[in-house]
C-alpha cells in the first residue's frame, strides 16, 4: 500500500507505516472529541499541556524503545534505569555533590546498563526479553538497596526546572520529548543509521551478509535506551522534587504498550516513532479524561487495556485486508 509514497513531504517523513499512523490519528481525534463533549475542562490549553507534561517521561522512554524494537531488540529495564537515575542524583546530592554532576553520573550509569544489555543480547545472542528482564530486577533491587526503599527529597530550583519549569507557556519536559521525537523521526527516515535500524530488524541475517553492522546498531540502540531511560528518570525526579527507587517501574507496561499500539512490530522491521507518539498521546489523554470524569484508577487500567487490544486488532485486520 505504500507504492505511491512521494519523495520528501509529510508522507515521505511518515514513511513506511503512514496508513497505520493515520488510523491512530483518527483514533486520537475520536478520543479528544469524546472527552471534550463529556467534560468542559478537557479541551482547555492548560489541560492539554498538563497531559503533555505528565506523559513526557513515558513518552521519552517509549521514543527510545521504538527504534530498538524496530531493530529487533527490547529493553524492559528502561523504567528501572529511570528509577535508578533519580536515586543516583539524590544520593550524590545528599552527600554534597552538585546535582548536575550527579545527573551526568546518572546518564553514564544509564549508558553502562544499556551497554551491558547490548553485550548480552548481541555477543551472547541471548533473548533480549530475558536479558533485560533480569537487568530490570538487578537495577530495581540495587536502587532499593541504595536507598533502603525510601524516598529522598530533591529540591534544587535549577534542577526542578527541567521537570516542572516552563518556557513561555510550554512545559520543559514536553519540549524535551517533542525534540526527541523530531530527532528520532528524522534519523529513522533520513539517515544511514535509520536504514540500518529497519534492515537489522527486518532480516538480521540478510543484513549481516551484505555488511550491515547489525550488532553495532543494536548495541548503540541499547545504550541509547539506557541513556534516555536515565534522562527520563531525571525529568521525573525533577518534576516530583524527590527520587523514589520504584517511581518509574509501574510505567513499564504503558511504555511497551505505547510502542505496540503505535504500530511497531515486536518481531522487528516495522514501525515508526510517529505512531508511538500518537499512542502515548492516546494513552495519556485517556488517563486524563477518565480522571476528569472521576473514574477510579482501577477502571482506568481496564480502559487502557481495552484500548490497546482494540487498536492492535483493528491494525491487524487492516494489515491483513490490505496486504501492507
Amino acid at each position: 500500500m505504500s507504492a505511491a509514497i512521494g519523495r520528501g513531504g509529510l508522507r515521505g517523513l511518515l514513511g513506511r507505516s503512514w496508513a497505520g499512523v493515520a488510523l491512530l490519528l483518527v483514533f486520537y481525534l475520536a478520543v479528544l472529541l469524546t472527552f471534550s463533549v463529556l467534560s468542559p475542562w478537557f479541551l482547555s490549553f492548560d489541560n492539554m499541556m498538563s497531559i503533555g507534561a505528565n506523559m513526557a517521561f513515558i513518552g521519552l522512554m517509549s521514543a527510545a524503545q521504538t527504534p530498538l524494537i524496530i531493530a529487533g531488540g527490547l529493553d524492559l529495564s528502561v523504567a528501572a534505569v529511570a528509577g535508578m537515575a533519580g536515586v543516583i542524583v539524590a544520593l550524590l546530592h545528599g552527600n554534597g555533590i552538585d546535582v548536575w554532576f550527579g545527573s551526568v553520573a546518572a546518564l553514564l550509569v544509564g549508558a553502562l546498563i544499556g551497554a551491558i544489555n547490548g553485550l548480552f543480547a548481541t555477543k551472547l545472542k541471548l533473548n533480549p526479553l530475558i536479558v533485560t528482564l533480569g537487568m530490570m530486577s538487578v537495577v530495581t533491587g540495587l536502587a532499593l538497596v541504595l536507598t533502603g526503599g525510601l524516598t529522598a527529597p530533591l529540591l534544587v530550583p535549577g534542577f526542578n526546572w527541567i521537570g516542572s519549569g516552563r518556557i513561555g507557556t510550554l512545559p520543559v519536559p514536553l519540549l524535551f520529548t517533542v525534540l526527541l521525537y523530531l530527532g528520532l523521526g528524522w534519523t529513522l527516515a533520513r539517515t544511514k543509521f535509520g536504514r540500518f535500524v529497519y534492515a537489522s530488524g527486518g532480516n538480521a541475517e540478510a543484513s549481516r551478509l551484505i555488511g550491515v553492522p547489525v550488532a553495532r546498531t543494536l548495541m548503540q540502540l541499547y545504550i541509547f535506551s539506557g541513556v534516555v531511560g536515565a534522562f527520563a528518570g531525571l525529568i521525573l525526579a525533577a518534576m516530583l522534587g524527590a527520587s523514589a527507587p520504584d517511581a518509574a517501574g509501574q510505567h513499564l507496561l504503558t511504555i511497551i504498550a505505547a510502542v505496540v499500539l503505535g504500530g511497531t512490530s515486536l518481531f522487528g522491521g516495522r514501525g515508526s516513532v510517529w505512531g508511538t507518539a500518537l499512542a502515548v498521546l492516546i494513552l495519556g489523554t485517556l488517563d486524563n479524561g477518565l480522571t476528569l470524569m472521576d473514574v477510579s484508577s482501577f477502571w482506568q487500567n481496564v480502559a487502557r487495556g481495552v484500548v490497546l487490544l482494540l487498536a492492535v486488532s483493528v491494525d491487524q485486520i487492516r494489515t491483513q485486508a490490505l496486504g501492507d
Partner: protein
C-alpha cells in the same frame, strides 16, 4: 489388481507459473521407487502434494484404486502416507517408545483420565524395531542414539501409524557410508512388509542399489520411467538433464584477464579441505557439489561470513586477503549473493530501493542524511537495465517474484565496482524465463570486468554457464573441468564408490 498408489495428470502452479504439468506416478506394494530430477524439476512439489502439504490444481490420486484427496499432512498420515523429511525429526528428550507412539499414545481411561499404557507401548515398540532390525531398549532417550538409529525410530513411528507409503527425502544426506548401508537394509525390510517406498536421492549409485524402479521428472513433467534392472546410468542422466542446454545459456566468455582471486589450500573446519583455485577477470568459475559436499560454505567462507579460515591463503587482485567479516570482504571488493533468498537475501519489509542500496549507503550520504534523488536515479537505472519487474522502486520487495528479487540482490553489488562476485544457487526457485535473463546478465557482468564464482548444486546450471568448473565432494575438490563438460560428467565426478563400504 490396482497399484497401491497412483497419481494421474497432476498439475500445480504457483503464482501463474506451472511447476507440475500432467505428471503421473504409480507405486505397487513392496516396491521401492526412486524419484529423480534436477533441482526445480518438481520433485518436492509432487511429494508435498502427495503428503498433503500442498493441494493439487489438477489430476487424481488413487489409493488402492479409490480416489482420495488429502486436506492436510495429518490427513495424509491418517490415510497411510508419510513423508520423512531430510532432517530427522525426533524428540531427543523423549524415550524411543514415546517417540514411536507420540502421534497416538496407547491409553486407558482411568476415572476419565487417559493414562498411557506403558507396557503395551514398550512391547509394541520392541516388535516394530525388531521388524526394522534394530535391537535397542525402547526406554532409552532418543538423544543418546546415533543418527541412523534415530532415522529407524522415525520409520518405526511411521509404521506404528500404519503407514503404507513412505516418502524418504535424501535419507542418506546426513549419514556416513557405513550408516547408509544400514539404512538400505531397513529399506529392504520395508519392501518385505509390503510398504511402498518413494526414495528421493541425488546419488545415482544409491538409487541403483536400492530401488526397483526409477521415475524421472524434468521441468515439471514425466521424463522417464525405468526398471532399474534394465536401465543404464546414462539413460537415467539423459532423462534427468535432457539435451535442451542450447538457448538457455549465453556463449562462454572471451580471453580471461588478470587473476582476481587466488586461493591456496583453503581449509575451514571439517567442511573444506585444501581447496585451491584461480579466478580471472571476465571469467565464470563454477563450483558444483551435492548437499554436504562443502559448496554450502565455500562462498561464505571466502566472503568472510563465517569468520576466519583455518588454513590456506587467499589473494584478491594480488593483495593478500584474510576472510573475517562481510564488511571486510566487501572492502576487499567481494560481493556475495546468498542461496536462501528469503532468509538470507531480502529484507522483506523494505522497498526495492532500500534493499538495493543497503550495502553502499555511503554513496548517497550528504552530511548526515541520505540524498533520495541520488538513490532514486541509481535504483531506476538498475531496474531498467536488469529488467526488474516491479511496480516501482517503492514497491516492497516481498511482493516481487523470486527471479526479480534475485535481480535486486544482484543489483546491490553492481552499484559499486566489485572485483569478485560470489553467487550461491543463483537461480534456485527462479522460473525458466527469469533464469535465462539472469544467466545473460551474469555473462554481461564478466564483460564489464567482473570475476564470478557461481556455486550451485544444479549440475546443468554449472555446466551451461561456467568457463571452468570445480567439483567438491566431502569438503575436497575432486575434479576440475573446462567448458564443454556435460552435467553428467559433473555428477559422475561426485560419486564415491559406495560398494567399497558394502
Amino acid at each position: 489388481m490396482p497399484p497401491l498408489l497412483e497419481m494421474r495428470g497432476i498439475g500445480k502452479s504457483f503464482g501463474g507459473v506451472p511447476v507440475l504439468a500432467d505428471v503421473a506416478l504409480a507405486i505397487a506394494a513392496g516396491e521401492v521407487l526412486a524419484l529423480l530430477g534436477a533441482n526445480g524439476a518438481g520433485k518436492s512439489t509432487l511429494v508435498k502434494i502427495l503428503s498433503g502439504a500442498y493441494q493439487r490444481d489438477a489430476g487424481t490420486v488413487l489409493l488402492d484404486g479409490q480416489p482420495v484427496s488429502f486436506a492436510s499432512t495429518t490427513d495424509a498420515i491418517r490415510q497411510g502416507i508419510r513423508l520423512l523429511p531430510q532432517e530427522v525429526s525426533v524428540m531427543p528428550h523423549l524415550s524411543v517408545a514415546e517417540n514411536i507412539f507420540i502421534g497416538d499414545l496407547p491409553a486407558r481411561n482411568v476415572f476419565g483420565v487417559a493414562v498411557v499404557q506403558r507396557r503395551r507401548m514398550r512391547e509394541e515398540s520392541e516388535r516394530l524395531l525388531a521388524q526394522l532390525g534394530l535391537e535397542i531398549d525402547p526406554a532409552r532417550e532418543v538423544g543418546t542414539l546415533a543418527v541412523p538409529e534415530r532415522r529407524i525410530v522415525e520409520i518405526a513411528r511411521a509404521l506404528a501409524g500404519r503407514a503404507r507409503i513412505l516418502i524418504m527425502d535424501e535419507p542418506t544426506a546426513a549419514l556416513t557410508e557405513h550408516e547408509t548401508v544400514r539404512l538400505f537394509d531397513v529399506v529392504a525390510r520395508l519392501r518385505g512388509q509390503g510398504v511402498g517406498v518413494i526414495y528421493i536421492s541425488h546419488y545415482l549409485d544409491e538409487v541403483f542399489q536400492v530401488c526397483d524402479r526409477i521415475a524421472v521428472l524434468r521441468d515439471g513433467r514425466n521424463a522417464g520411467d525405468f526398471a532399474t534392472a534394465d536401465a543404464s546410468r546414462d539413460d537415467v542422466l539423459l532423462a534427468m538433464l535432457g539435451t535442451r542446454m542450447e538457448g538457455l545459456y549465453p556463449p562462454p566468455g572471451g580471453k580471461p584477464g588478470r587473476t582476481i582471486c587466488q586461493a591456496q589450500g583453503l581449509t575451514f573446519r571439517g567442511d573444506l579441505k585444501d581447496i585451491s583455485f584461480e579466478l580471472h577477470q571476465g571469467e565464470v568459475l563454477g563450483v558444483f557439489g551435492l548437499l554436504g559436499s562443502g559448496i554450502e560454505v565455500l562462498g561464505r567462507v571466502l566472503y568472510g561470513a563465517m569468520g576466519g579460515i583455518d588454513g590456506g591463503s587467499i589473494a584478491i587482485d594480488s593483495a593478500p586477503y584474510a576472510p573475517s567479516t562481510p564488511i571486510a570482504g566487501k572492502a576487499a571488493g567481494i560481493g556475495f549473493v546468498a542461496a536462501e533468498r528469503k532468509v538470507e537475501g531480502i529484507v522483506p519489509d523494505l522497498t526495492v530501493r532500500e534493499n538495493m542500496t543497503l550495502p553502499f549507503l555511503d554513496r548517497y550520504r550528504h552530511g548526515l542524511s541520505l540524498r533520495r534523488a541520488g538513490e532514486d536515479t541509481e535504483v531506476r537505472h538498475w531496474i531498467d537495465l536488469l529488467g526488474i519487474r516491479t511496480k516501482g522502486a517503492e514497491q516492497h520487495i516481498r511482493f516481487l517474484s523470486g527471479g526479480n528479487q534475485q535481480k535486486v540482490c544482484l543489483a546491490r553489488w553492481l552499484i559499486e565496482e566489485m572485483k569478485l562476485l560470489i553467487l550461491e544457487e543463483p537461480t534456485r526457485g527462479v522460473d525458466i524465463g527469469a533464469r535465462k535473463e539472469i544467466y545473460a546478465q551474469l555473462r554481461e557482468l564478466t564483460r564489464r570486468g567482473l570475476a564470478l564464482l557461481v556455486i550451485s548444486s544444479d549440475a546443468e546450471e554449472i555446466a551451461g554457464l561456467c568457463d571452468r568448473m570445480l567439483v567438491l565432494e566431502r569438503g575436497r575438490c575432486v575434479a576440475r573441468l573446462a567448458h564443454g563438460a556435460t552435467p553428467a560428467m559433473l555428477i559422475d565426478a561426485t560419486d564415491l564408490p559406495l560398494e567399497s563400504a558394502a
